[in-house]
């Protein structure tokens, strides 16, 4: 039996959003662009399209990746689809004054070129309303500190895929301590070989096992920091 063709523009809002979750899951870039435009044309705010259609859909992808149902290529295709929707929304979000959650500087550590996880985190953080400065790959402690001083973010995110490179995160954190700037920032770490114990041992604020956890942890810790400052 042939697949029934779904005309996105004929779906009511609630069904269209669910269809976009499916399309995001299947990595269908063109359909995500189309769905994004339809919702905007129907008067949705860019923020609602982003959170309800894209971020919520990507959360399902992230959960299934965590549970071993999806693997790297499927997640990359979904991320590409989400990115195409975000490209439409980004300028509109800036114009419509969507809520800003905070600012993050992120990059993979020195000697590590594996950036798939880091890119996903950066994208999901942006989707959650954080301003993200992505330093890319292979970052020395000097480069991290320079970015912290220049950008004054709330959060520093460090990523590593290799057992041999993950100890460099401690070098960065120790240098921040030496310079008396550790407490000025929330430090989040992530990457396949890391775990909570490692995060604690090197003095990070939290280990985040995936992009969704990174977003939730960032929101909580930024809120806590703001509460402390205003207390």
């Amino acid at each position: 039996m042939a697949d029934e063709d779904i005309i996105l523009s004929e779906l009511p809002d609630d069904e269209l959003v669910l269809q976009m979750h499916d399309d995001l899951y299947d990595g269908l870039k063109d359909e995500i662009e189309e769905g994004t435009r339809i919702l905007l044309d129907r008067g949705w705010t860019p923020y609602d399209v982003l959170t309800q259609a894209l971020v919520a859909g990507m959360k399902i992808v992230g959960d299934d990746f965590r549970d071993g149902i999806l693997f790297v290529p499927e997640v990359l295709l979904s991320a590409n689809a989400m990115k195409s929707g975000m490209t439409i929304l980004k300028p509109l979000l800036a114009e419509t004054g969507a809520p800003r959650m905070g600012k993050m500087v992120i990059g993979t550590v020195k000697g590590d070129i594996h950036d798939i996880g880091k890119n996903l985190v950066a994208m999901m953080m942006e989707g959650a309303g954080f301003e993200v400065l992505d330093l890319g790959i292979n970052n020395s402690v000097e480069k991290y500190l320079e970015a912290l001083e220049a950008e004054q973010p709330d959060i520093l995110g460090m990523s590593a895929l290799l057992t041999t490179t993950m100890p460099y995160m401690k070098v960065v954190i120790d240098t921040m301590k030496e310079k008396g700037m550790r407490e000025d920032y929330i430090v989040l770490v992530g990457g396949a070989p890391l775990n909570e114990e490692f995060g604690r041992a090197i003095g990070a604020d939290a280990y985040c096992r995936d992009a969704a956890v990174a977003v939730e942890t960032a929101k909580q810790l930024v809120a806590r920091k703001h509460n402390q400052l205003s207390a």
């Binding site: 071993g68 693997f71 790297v72 290529p73 499927e74 990359l76 295709l77 590409n80 000697g111 590590d112 070129i113 594996h114 950036d115 798939i116 790959i137 292979n138 895929l161 290799l162 057992t163 041999t164 490179t165 993950m166 396949a192 070989p193 890391l194 775990n195 490692f198």
Partner: protein, 213 residues
């Protein structure tokens, strides 16, 4: 007398190899190392070493390696004087080493097989972080281990998202085999990377197993 047939790569990738022999020491190894270990056993007459291999494709989910090794140690420890784990850290972030220490078994030193095949010291000195490595096993199993799991058979457009930060493919050759050399070169072409062949032999693996008496 004919030598035992070599284990089939596809079996080593997804299934593994049950322990065989009457040795006092059991090697619990990654399936990707089966041929090399069996070759060393034969060449050195190490009949005191039995070999069990876990599926090589556990490397696609490194967090499952520690649990699989722990289960194998617990299953077989009563039947052997000693167990040696032929895995390096292999992306477990120190969890495998911690589990082996807790279980009272030793393991191979180093971050991964690329390191111990070259020799851990020499590998660390290279600091060659833009190289993507293949061993003999991985060249033979390139499609099962790299091409298909990374979705490149279905979505070739993902290649540069996954491999774009690498500069070259280094084939660490355990054996002299022109056919594998040619295949490795083809793998490099498919990934869009420069190619280098580097003969390593078995590196630190030989010494690690020779010490088991």
């Amino acid at each position: 007398m004919t030598a035992d047939p070599l284990p089939v790569d596809e079996v080593l990738t997804g299934g593994g190899l049950a322990p065989e022999g009457a040795g006092r020491i059991l090697l619990i190894a990654c399936g990707a190392l089966a041929r090399e270990i069996l070759d060393l056993k034969r060449a050195n007459g190490w009949d005191h070493l039995d070999l069990q291999c876990l599926p090589a494709n556990l490397h696609l989910w490194p967090d499952r390696i520690t649990l699989a090794v722990e289960a194998a140690v617990k299953e077989h420890r009563a039947a052997y004087d000693r167990i040696f784990v032929v895995y390096a850290d292999c992306g477990t972030g120190g969890l495998l080493a911690a589990k082996c220490a807790e279980l009272g078994v030793e393991m191979v030193e180093g971050p991964h097989c690329y390191s111990f095949f070259e020799g851990n010291e020499a590998f660390a000195e290279r600091d060659e972080f833009t190289a993507f490595y293949l061993t003999d096993f991985l060249v033979r199993q390139f499609d099962a281990f790299v091409w298909r799991p990374m979705g490149l058979d279905r979505h070739p457009e993902l290649r540069d998202m996954i491999f774009g930060n690498y500069e070259k493919l280094v084939y660490q050759a355990q054996t002299e085999d022109p056919a594998l050399d040619a295949k490795a070169r083809d793998c490099a072409d498919r990934l869009g990377l420069a190619y280098e062949r580097r003969f390593t032999g078995y590196g630190d693996l030989t010494g690690a197993l020779a010490r088991l008496r």
